[in-house]
């Protein structure tokens, strides 16, 4: 369709806008935001007559590439180090996508401007597309990659693994609680506008560098729908800003959503890109460099800051602190080290780091080797079973961390851990902002203002609690992370598929029981707890115990 006829067609379909005459629609999803019913321009000008053939065309390219990759034996050059992390990533991402679809009705109910609903309904179909096209890619990997374990039990793994639960925030956060907090601020303003670049552009680039050109094909196709979604979010945000009564809530939600997205997405994608790659060219951008460009410059400087003049309070301090965590506090490195420490609790294999990797890390993050080098040498030393325990059970100068009650990533930047007692339970948090999120933001009153629609943080938020006192072999069996011989583990701390080099649940029998840091923390007396926290804050980097003398 020509531009002109598209504009005319779009004009015409505005005549469909519904003004209820006999019955008001039932408003299922509540919000504490208020919206004035004002004429609003549909920012997208999307009509289905052009949308469906356009997407079908995009699909044809994706499926053509998939056929080609199989015919061209792509998997002969795919790096296993990379594809193993896709077992985690592709187990998580279809749920956020379908949850984005599920969040659109919340917007119909909360934002009374029918002009925007058309774009939201199209986004809903887009998200069904994204979820199923990604499930399909995972299925292709399962069928064609050397090791299907971890792909074949994908959603079971995702649903009962602590990493999956961390990732699930990036899904449940879109669809639960205050409709605008969830579907607009958390989903569109932060997750889609800020973080899809790292997810859907940076990740695919790294995939290609590791011999996998299907991930880029699928995810670029997904990303090409994203700009429309970003426009949806922007239009809603401007409407929210036009009512001064919303500004306090906007400030709250932007702080929460920004920090939670940073904690979750940077942990996962940062690890995939820095520790899942074999591409160690010095001129390839590090995750920190990409973050600076896409998130700091493109999102923060170019998108958020200009909104200040419309009355948005931008969380400058939290953006700087996120960068500080990535650049100075080693956030991504600490997370990757923790994933590798707990390799046995997951459903993918984690390759160790070699001298070539060390050199690259030292070049990109000066001082890296002094902090993390020794630990990764120990990781390789303990990689194949040889009378010792998995690294988590060996003395390698690593203190198993507390978990953050809010973001559920462990409190890895030890000096930043804070605590609170909520409903008689002592909770630990990775950062002051995560404490604030739980203790102040997700509450029915915020700074003296009633917020009756605000959601709650619920669930068994510390995974270890469920297995407190269990032996590790039973933990792994209970989660189902064993292969078809009933005992060889799905996860391995190396890439060697020689069965003699692979860990089985028998090897785990020599370990002590799994103990929940949070259960232990609550069993302490107040004095013990205070001393524990003081010691914890002096630990690190790289999980090292606190120095002997203060």
């Amino acid at each position: 369709m020509s531009r002109q006829s598209l504009a005319k067609a779009h004009q015409k379909i505005q005549e469909l806008s519904w003004e209820p005459q006999y019955h008001e629609p039932y408003m299922k999803y509540g919000t504490d935001y208020t919206f004035r019913k004002a004429q609003k321009k549909d920012p997208l000008k999307q009509i289905l007559r052009s949308y469906f053939p356009m997407e079908e065309e995009k699909d044809n390219r994706v499926y053509g590439a998939e056929d080609g990759a199989i015919r061209g034996n792509m998997f002969r050059q795919v790096q296993e180090r990379w594809l193993e992390w896709q077992k985690l990533f592709l187990s998580i991402i279809p749920l956020p996508e379908i949850s984005a679809a599920r969040s659109m009705p919340m917007l119909f109910h909360a934002v009374p401007n029918p002009e925007l609903h058309n774009g939201q309904a199209i986004q809903m179909i887009d998200e069904v597309r994204h979820s199923t096209i990604q499930q399909n890619l995972k299925r292709l990997y399962m069928n064609n990659y050397i090791d299907p374990a971890g792909f074949n039990n994908s959603l079971r793994g995702f649903h009962n693994d602590y990493c999956g639960t961390i990732g699930r925030q990036f899904a449940e956060g879109f669809i639960t609680g205050d409709a605008i907090t969830a579907a607009s601020i958390y989903l569109t303003i932060v997750a889609e506008t800020a973080f899809t670049n790292t997810l859907f552009v940076a990740m695919p680039a790294e995939a290609a560098a590791n011999g996998d050109y299907l991930l880029p094909t699928v995810f670029h196709s997904v990303q090409s729908d994203e700009s429309r979604h970003i426009s949806n979010g922007y239009a809603t945000l401007l409407m929210a800003l036009s009512d001064e009564g919303n500004r306090q809530l906007l400030e709250r939600d932007l702080r929460y959503a920004w920090w939670n997205n940073h904690a979750v997405v940077d942990a996962a994608i940062g690890t995939f890109i820095e520790y899942g790659t074999k591409d160690r060219r010095k001129d390839r951008e590090s995750y920190a460099e990409m973050w600076r460009r896409w998130i700091y410059d493109d999102y923060y400087r170019s998108y958020l800051v200009p909104l200040e003049k419309y009355g948005l309070t931008v969380p400058h301090d939290l953006i700087e602190e996120a960068w500080n965590r990535i650049w100075n506090k080693g956030y991504v490195h600490e997370v990757a080290q923790f994933f590798a420490t707990g390799w046995l609790a997951n459903y993918w294999r984690i390759d160790g780091m070699t001298d070539e990797d060390f050199e690259w890390f030292e070049y990109k993050y000066p001082g890296w080797y002094d902090k993390y080098g020794k630990w990764w040498e120990n990781y390789s030393r303990l990689a194949t079973p040889n009378g010792h325990k998995p690294i988590v059970g060996e003395d390698v100068d690593y203190v198993y961390p507390q978990r953050c009650w809010t973001c559920m990533v462990p409190c890895l930047i030890r000096e930043d851990m804070v605590t609170a007692e909520v409903d008689g339970v002592h909770r630990t948090y990775c950062s002051e902002t995560c404490r604030w999120t739980d203790v102040e933001a997700f509450r029915p009153v915020y700074q003296g203002r009633e917020t009756p629609n605000m959601g709650r943080l619920v669930g068994n938020r510390e995974w270890e609690t469920l297995y407190h006192g269990w032996s590790w072999d039973k933990v792994v069996e209970d989660m189902g992370f064993v292969r078809d011989d009933g005992k060889t583990m799905t996860a391995q701390p190396h890439l060697n598929l020689d069965p003699k080099k692979m860990w089985t649940t028998d090897h785990l029998k020599r370990m002590g029981p799994l103990l929940s840091p949070n259960v232990l923390f609550n069993e302490m007396s107040d004095e013990q707890r205070a001393a524990f926290v003081a010691d914890y804050n002096r630990q690190g980097p790289a999980g090292r115990p606190a120095p002997a003398s203060a």
Binding site: L16, W18, R49, A121, H159, G173, G211
Partner: protein, 403 residues
């Protein structure tokens, strides 16, 4: 300014930085180890409805998790009132197992996934008989769009609209025009509007797909209306608004249409009232019983093709999933009586309403010059169709419908 820049000597160019390709042999079957058998290459976390796992199931089943299955840490966000995830009480209908207590998890309980009977409740057995997922959605809808466009384009080139009488022009601009609003409201505020509320990914995805059909159909009608405004002398492109807003013949239908998104907190009732009651008694009555029948006699061979693709979506796809969703609930091993009662109550509430609204459409039957079949005959066909759907579902036809 014609200064030319010298090309640098190619030998001096720095080597291009590209990732190294290496032979990894990470192909299926390259080595033997636990899980390397071809038998390990299927999703082992769900049971297929039939013998073999289908492509549709692979991309759909269990994407939306359930605490009664593997979701060991439970839902992690709640609404203010404490509800989480996808509550099973967002419809009055029940599938077997829903009243059984969910697994209790806490200190030292384990994940709670081992030894659980699965599926834990009957909702998880639902499969979309159309097996819709990404590829089918775009393929089907793109085909429809192409077909509709071509038909209209051919008609335009053939000057097929020239033979329309004044009365037929009035009928199409007002009444076929008014119908776009019905489809739009159902698409956005009933189907999309309930797409967060279903208990499984299978349910919510069929609602999304059904929504896409409706929204597309509404737009097909709007854009057809636009073309007619351009092509047909005296065709008033705004008359559909006047009909929808003020014409007495349309107000009954409008009232019932608007009542569907107003259904409180029951996605099941919204789907049932729309696809089981409204569609056969009003939708098909108007689309098939009037427009498709009247058009040819009035020299219009185009409108039936535009309306027909929407009709086809309902008759072949949307009704199919609806039957597959509601039929088994009437036979449910635990809640058959409960569900039958709930659905009969819904029928008692919606059928008289739908029939009353259908009757208000009657004046439209006498507007075209070449008359369609009598209204009563069209209505009888609609009622028969409706009774047939109910008997497929195992429900009793309410007395209002018995002729």
């Amino acid at each position: 300014m014609t200064a030319t820049t010298e090309r640098p000597d190619t030998t001096e160019r720095p080597p291009r930085s590209v990732p190294k390709v290496s032979f990894t042999d990470a192909e299926a079957g390259a080595k033997d180890f636990p899980d390397s058998d071809p038998g390990a290459r299927h999703f082992n976390y769900y049971k297929p409805a039939k013998r073999k796992q289908t492509h549709y199931e692979d991309v759909t089943v269990e994407v939306q998790p359930d605490p009664r299955h593997y979701l060991s840490q439970g839902w992690i966000y709640g609404f203010a009132d404490g509800q989480t995830g996808y509550p099973l009480n967002w419809t009055k209908l029940k599938a077997w197992g829903v009243d059984d207590p969910p697994p209790v998890r806490g200190v030292g309980t384990g994940g709670g996934g081992a030894g659980l009977d699965w599926p834990a409740h009957g909702w998880h057995w639902f499969r979309d008989p159309n097996e819709e997922w990404e590829q089918t959605i775009y393929r089907n809808n793109a085909n429809v769009v192409r077909q509709v466009n071509q038909n209209i384009e051919n008609a335009r080139n053939a000057k097929a609209f020239d033979q329309w009488s004044r009365n037929w022009i009035r009928f199409v601009e007002r009444s076929v025009g008014a119908w776009m609003h019905v489809e739009h409201i159902l698409g956005l505020y009933v189907f999309a509007g309930n797409e967060r509320s279903g208990p499984t990914n299978m349910h919510n995805t069929v609602m999304a797909v059904n929504s896409a059909h409706k929204i597309r159909f509404a737009q097909d009608l709007a854009l057809y209306n636009m073309t007619l405004t351009e092509e047909v002398d005296g065709f008033d492109g705004t008359a559909h608004l006047a009909a929808w807003n003020d014409d007495g013949a349309w107000q009954g239908v409008r009232e019932v249409t608007e009542a569907l998104p107003a259904i409180e907190d029951d996605w099941g009732e919204a789907m049932f009232a729309t696809n089981v009651v409204f569609e056969p008694l009003i939708g098909e009555l108007f689309r098939s019983g009037l427009v498709m029948q009247a058009a040819p006699g009035n020299g219009d061979f185009v409108t039936p093709t535009v309306v027909g693709v929407g009709e086809y979506d309902y008759a072949l796809r949307d009704l199919a999933w609806t039957k597959a969703c509601f039929g088994p609930l009437v036979q449910d091993r635990e809640f058959a009586d409960h569900n039958r009662q709930v659905m009969q109550d819904w029928l008692s509430a919606w059928v008289p309403r739908a029939l009353a609204a259908a009757r208000t459409l009657q004046p439209l039957w006498s507007q075209p010059d070449a008359r369609p079949p009598r209204f009563e005959d069209s209505l009888e066909i609609a009622k028969n169709r409706f009774s047939g759907i109910l008997s497929d579902l195992g429900l009793e036809t309410p007395k209002e419908v018995v002729l």
